[in-house]
Symmetry: C2
């Protein structure tokens, strides 16, 4: 038995046990587990780094500035999670796929819920800006069979690296967005323009941190997909241009080898004419494999 | 040699190495070390907890609310650091004392820089509210010799648990604050009122977190001291009332056994008269031992 004087006063040695011991009365077991782990890892970090009081205050002020940068249109803590690889790690943990299924990557902040459903083959580029591109492939199950009635929600940045929602009044509404639905053969195709790399918003504390770390803020060119079908797990992913200058240094770590899709330059006046393209165009072929729902 | 396709794409397995590998170009070696450790501990926490996407978003929104609660008068991230024991851990790491020296504890947010210097024995209670108290002791070096010209900066909450700066217009300016200077015998004494326990500000996200964890927001009654003298390390500390109901559960973990100072109730009309007290009073005796400067 400990006397009253020895009861649980905080020391460097017992700091984790004393702090987490206070959570014994938590009603939510999961919250208790979360705070136990976060407290333990935070104390481990402090004990390893031995920050000065000034460094501790710098950390407090960095977190404060990060919170105060957030508004209806800007989520600086998500950016921080992104550039520290936490967002991709949470994505990976929640999307462990069976062998053969397409891999996921981060959703990103530029999806909109109400993009229009378009006929297969439609051109999602509404302002004729950028280099023409045609994209096609099939939606398959893990046995290689086509999935009919798969819904493909696609969105991308334009040739200057901006999404429509970042350039309201400059780009048409729903520019470079569309929803397509597969037929019995599981095939999809649509027309668009070649996307370009772009920086994540870097005029806030996260951008400053990247600068101090000697890191650039760019994401390599990509198209976003959310693919869903009855009986299958919804897939949120990108395809990336493997020839992009930032393909090996995505600021948010979203690239996976299986998500590389060759962007081929095509000189074929006959095909260009059929696609209503003025000249040379880019061609991308990429299949997606959906995992069956686990329940 | 790895081919370009195998180069450093992020996986659950290599997540720490991929993210910290990006910091190779950091100009500031300490920042690089800090971010390496924080990234590693964050990823360890995520891998241990396996948060859902919804839990991740809850964490993002908690941090955002915490940042947005901060203003000129309120620092919610310091409160978060306090209730997770991080502030006390940083204090402990930065104030490892030689054997026999008094221990430190957190500064807290209520110190003011320009309190008045008062003659020894002055009453720092300016509004006659609360139960009278007299405090005395000596400032000593680790050999037990008195330190002359030690400067004692003291401040405390009133009998309702509020500091003057929290009740501007209600309490007089500089109520329950003062600076004293020791003479050759190292002795100090002053008059005040018995302090009371009080809650840390609990109307924000940190208070909500404490509520969900089944924790109360109270700090046990204490007096704050900053004691400085030429040739000695400055000591920032408290003394605590060991009979306080929250003495074993300080919301910010500031209590140490060596900082307990018995608050004795005294019935002695002769002494009361000398102190200009109306009746019974409280008496506290506590010596402080300063460590010699390391340089």
């Amino acid at each position: 038995m400990m006397g009253a004087d020895e009861k649980g006063y905080f020391t460097e040695g017992n700091s984790v046990e004393v702090v987490t011991g206070r959570n014994a009365g938590a009603k939510d077991e999961r919250l208790k587990e979360v705070m136990d782990v976060i407290t333990r890892k935070l104390h481990e970090a402090v004990k390893e780094l031995e920050p000065t009081q000034e460094e501790w205050m710098q950390a407090i002020l960095f977190l404060t500035r990060t919170g105060q940068m957030c508004n209806e249109w800007r989520q600086e803590f998500i950016l921080l999670s992104d550039v520290l690889g936490v967002s991709m790690l949470v994505d990976a943990i929640n999307n462990r796929k069976p062998s053969g299924a397409s891999e996921s990557t981060v959703l990103g902040p530029f999806h909109v819920a109400d993009a229009p459903e378009l006929p297969m083959g439609a051109n999602i580029c509404l302002d004729s800006k950028g280099e023409d591109m045609v994209i096609e492939g099939r939606i398959l199950d893990t046995e290689g069979k086509p999935i009919a009635n798969a819904v493909i929600d696609v969105w991308q940045a334009n040739d200057e690296g901006f999404y429509d929602v970042q350039q309201k009044g400059i780009q048409p509404d729903f520019n470079l967005r569309g929803i397509f639905r597969t037929g019995p053969n599981g095939h999809y195709w649509f027309r668009a323009v070649k996307p370009k790399y772009y920086p994540i918003p870097d005029d806030g504390p996260v951008g400053q941190l990247l600068g101090h770390l000697g890191r650039h803020p760019y994401r390599p060119a990509h198209l976003h997909y959310i693919i869903s079908a009855d009986g299958f797990e919804t897939l949120t992913t990108h395809i990336f241009d493997p020839d992009d200058p930032y393909i090996h240094s995505d600021a948010v770590f979203g690239v996976k080898k299986s998500l590389l899709a060759k962007f081929n330059r095509v000189n074929d006046p006959g095909r260009a004419k059929r696609y209503e393209f003025a000249g040379d165009f880019w061609e991308v072929a990429h299949n997606f494999v959906l995992a069956r729902s686990r329940t």
